[in-house]
């Protein structure tokens, strides 16, 4: 019994200690730093989202705004338009959104993200730790993968949650068409989810 406990501890220590969990060093040089607000409020989260979605240097800032339990829910029509067996929208988690956002940022040559208005009143939970906002969004993005489309427009129902560390993160994003006929943000996201 004692021998196995000792072996287990030794195994743990050896795995942890042999550099398996050490990140690589960044390459020399340094680009411009972005201004990433601490997510002390939903407004700061939105500001970071608008400023850094699609921006290569700011992808870490954008993905830091996502909760570990983040889920993206596509528009129903977008979902119906998928080919049979196409699982592009399935299980859209924090990790999927992070990789997808990095792919978008790596491919676009210019971008602009705006929330021109809110189409419904905000919903705030009684304990003030959950807030749902209903945004009209407009994404203008030039990128080879989505060309010739450049405008992505629709509605986003975004749920913000204040965690135990009192920081706010996005837990849920429901994408909807707005009737303008434009492609949605969900369509844009789907294009960049290949192989994961």
């Amino acid at each position: 019994m004692r021998l196995q406990r000792t072996l287990s501890i030794l195994l743990l220590v050896s795995i942890a200690g042999c550099g398996l969990f050490k990140p690589r060093d960044p390459r020399p040089g340094g680009g411009p730093a972005v201004n990433c607000l601490t997510p002390n409020s939903p407004d700061n989260v939105v500001a970071n989202l608008l400023a850094h979605y699609g921006e290569l240097a700011g992808t870490t800032c954008y993905t830091d705004m996502l909760d570990a339990a983040f889920a993206f829910h596509p528009d129903v029509t977008d979902s119906n338009e998928l080919a049979p067996g196409d699982t592009s929208f399935v299980h859209w988690t924090h990790d999927v959104e992070s990789r997808d956002a990095r792919n978008v940022a790596a491919d676009d040559t210019s971008h602009q993200v705006t929330f021109p208005s809110e189409y419904a009143s905000r919903v705030i939970s009684g304990d003030l730790r959950t807030e749902i906002r209903f945004y009209n969004y407009r994404v203008i993005l030039h990128a080879s993968q989505v060309a010739p489309d450049t405008l992505f427009q629709g509605l986003a129902d975004i749920t913000f949650f204040q965690g135990n560390d009192a920081q706010w993160h996005i837990t849920s994003w429901v994408d909807k068409r707005d009737g303008s006929g434009s492609r949605t943000w969900g369509y844009l996201r789907r294009i960049y989810r290949v192989g994961f």
Binding site: Q4, S8, L12, I15, A16, L20, F21, K22, P23, R24, R27, G29, G30, G31, P32, A33, V34, C36, T38, N40, L56, A57, G58, T59, T60, C61, V76, T77, N80, A83, P84, G85, R99, R102, N103, A106, A120, S121, R122, V123, I124, G126, D127, L128, F134, Q145, D157, N164, D165, A166, Q167, K176, R177, G179, G181, I191, Y192, V194, G195, F196
Partner: protein
């Protein structure tokens, strides 16, 4: 060929009938004696939240006899976007299945399905319908004591319809190639599609087989193969108008296509139960499918082909009393290719391994586990995103009960995910470390407490110089505790405490001024009192204090100093009364007031009032029907300190009702 012969030899020379968890065809267990009739069940529910209303209905019926089994089901859901009458969706399916045992080993099955999906918005109405009718004949034999063979021959008639309508001016641009009488292209013409429809028909013929071999009590092998071929005929029909013209023209682009779709699935699984509790299995799987479909985005026929191979292994071995070793490994290769949408082609090679050791003490006072996982995924043949990502994950947990009242537990995890792309600008490492330790003291059922201390560290490292300036380490130190106290049999008080400090320190000295620290104190208090048998009262108080500011070195390079930028106090008081006026019915009302006080250069105060009124029903009606539901109205607003302040009013109905009725 040699492998195939070896497998064939194994299959033919072995003798046992063993049902597996992945049975091909109809299981014998659907035929039962005496006859069993599952009552007709009708379930309807309506759910309404702030933005959507969903009405769902379903109907099911089944009948099982010694020689006949019938099952039918139907369901339909309608989703309306509240406040936007022109937007919504609906979908449902009807299915029926009839199994007849024509002879002892012969089963004939008819299986029909009808699916429909419809969506509507301002710029399009689209509908997809799918009809399927499958007839199959299944024959089972057990030529030897330890061998069971099952073969199924099937034909499925398939019909897919899709229709999309768009109002004038909202058509999708479509370029037509103009040809002369000789078939040579002489130019192109653009028109705007406002109506597109497709009809796909075909018959899918298939052959499936499964062999189960159990030569010994400690060894089982199951092999199955399924193959089918479909040659669908698709007719697409596009109608629309020219640019700047609102007149609908039969400007048709009518095409027919008929490429065969071949599908093949092969899988085998071997299970071995060895001495001293050893349990192991190996599973191999190969899938090749072709799926031709009408791309409703590009308005053309496309073909999606998948070639997938995978192998999985599992070993489970009790080492000695209380210790169990688990080993798992998976290798898989997935190749997905489109005929036209080349930007979605992908080859994904995956390798994963997991080793875990678990311990449970014989007396149940201690438990522990160590787990180490490695996942490696390599993407290739993609237009973008080619590269490798590797995740290593280590976890150790332990818990020990020192006495009937005192227990201790701890958990620690470490993980590193490495992304290494061909386009190295996206290379990134994500490191996470977490440790948590604490314990609980339970005086009695009505009185207990828990305390835990934890530290977590996250480090995202972008390697490329264009992204690395924002690399930072976020470290969180936290203390959680809870206390539950039953003051009297009717009055219970519980409290949750949380202390927390979050440091965000950037890697590069140039970003020193961006380093921040925030600290939190949170105390949540809940008091519940069951006044009478028909009423309860709950009082809640939530308190949060948070300060936030920079945590950086002064210009001289000395130790980092905390300069508080803001203080925030949030307090919420709420009272809820629940009254049970009749059996299965609960009425509730909650009134709350939240006070938020934020101090930066000046202090701002916000008071938010919230009133929720609702009812919950849970009772039997109409004999054997069940009604469950809740209706709630939420009203909230912010007190205005200045006439120009936003009121942030909220007035919402939330409904969820379900009726289940058996006939």
């Amino acid at each position: 060929m040699r492998i195939a012969c070896a497998i064939l030899l194994i299959l033919c020379s072995a003798p046992a009938w063993a049902q597996t968890d992945e049975t091909v065809g109809t299981s014998d267990t659907v035929f039962v004696a005496p006859s069993t009739r599952v009552p007709i069940s009708y379930i309807t529910s309506y759910d309404r939240d702030v933005s959507t209303g969903t009405w769902s209905q379903s109907l099911n019926y089944s009948l099982y006899k010694p020689r006949v089994a019938v099952s039918t089901s139907g369901s339909y859901s309608i989703v309306d976007q509240l406040g936007r009458a022109s937007q919504g969706s609906g979908g449902g399916s009807f299915a029926g299945r009839l199994d007849i045992r024509a002879a002892k080993n012969w089963i004939v099955t008819a299986d029909g399905r009808y699916n429909k999906n419809a969506t509507r918005d301002i710029v399009s109405n689209s509908t997809q319908r799918q009809n399927r009718l499958k007839v199959s004949s299944q024959y089972s034999v057990a030529p030897w004591k330890s061998v069971g063979i099952r073969a199924i021959l099937s034909s499925e008639f398939q019909e897919d319809h899709s229709l999309a309508l768009r109002p004038p001016g909202q058509g999708i641009a479509r370029v037509l190639v103009l040809t002369n009488a000789l078939g040579d292209s002489v130019g192109v013409d653009t028109f705007y599609v406002t109506r597109d429809s497709t009809l796909t028909t075909g018959r899918q013929d298939g052959l499936s087989g499964q062999v189960d071999w159990k030569p010994k009590s400690w060894f089982t092998m199951t092999t199955s193969a399924q193959g089918n071929r479909l040659k669908p005929t698709t007719t697409s029909h596009l109608g629309g108008n020219e640019l700047n013209s609102t007149t609908f023209e039969q400007r048709l682009d009518q095409t027919k296509s008929g490429e065969p779709n071949d599908n093949l699935l092969y899988q085998t699984k071997m299970t071995y139960a060895g001495p001293r509790g050893l349990a192991t299995w190996v599973s191999l799987k190969r899938t090749r499918t072709d799926q031709s479909y009408y791309d409703r985005t590009a308005l053309r026929q496309d073909l999606f082909s998948v070639d997938q191979r995978s192998g999985t292994m599992h070993v489970e071995q009790p080492i000695r009393q209380g210790f169990v070793l688990n080993l798992d490994g998976t290798l898989s290769r997935f190749l997905g290719q489109y005929k036209f949408r080349n930007n979605r082609n992908s080859l994904l090679n995956t390798k994963s391994g997991k080793a875990a050791m678990m311990y449970f003490s014989p007396r149940g006072t201690s438990r522990g586990s160590v787990e180490f996982d490695v996942d490696s995924n390599r993407n290739s043949r993609q237009q973008t995103g080619n590269g490798t990502n590797v995740t290593r994950f280590l976890q150790a947990t332990g818990a020990h009960r020192l006495s009937s009242k005192l227990s201790l537990d701890a958990v620690g995890t470490a993980s590193l995910t490495t992304f290494q792309y061909v386009d190295s600008v996206l290379d990134q490492d994500n490191q996470r470390v977490y440790a948590n330790g604490g314990g609980g003291y339970r005086v009695s059922d009505r009185c207990s407490t828990l305390v835990h201390f934890s530290v977590s560290r996250g480090h995202s490292v972008a390697l490329d110089a264009s992204r690395s300036a924002n690399n930072n380490v976020q470290t969180t130190y936290q203390m959680d505790s809870s206390m539950k106290l039953g003051v009297t049999p009717r009055i219970t008080i519980s409290q949750l405490y949380l202390l927390n400090a979050v440091y965000q320190i950037y890697d590069f000295a140039a970003a020193e001024s961006k380093n921040v620290l925030s600290r939190i104190r949170r105390i949540d208090t809940y008091v519940s009192d069951s006044l009478f048998t028909f009423a309860t009262l709950q009082l809640n108080h939530n308190f949060l204090f948070r300060d936030f500011g920079t945590f950086s070195r002064p210009p001289g390079g000395a130790d980092r100093l905390y300069r508080v930028f803001s203080h925030t106090y949030v307090q919420t008081v709420s009272a809820t009364i629940n009254v049970r006026p009749a059996y299965g019915m609960l009425l509730f009302a909650t009134q709350s007031l939240s006070n938020t006080r934020v101090t930066q250069t000046e202090t701002t105060v916000n008071n938010r009032w919230n009133l929720s009124l609702g009812a919950t029903v849970q009772r039997t009606i109409m004999g054997n029907g069940d009604l469950n539901g809740t209706v709630q109205h939420i009203e909230a607003y912010d007190e205005r300190m200045l006439p120009t302040d936003p009121r942030n009013s909220q007035s919402d109905w939330i409904v969820g009702v379900t009726l289940v009725k058996y006939f």
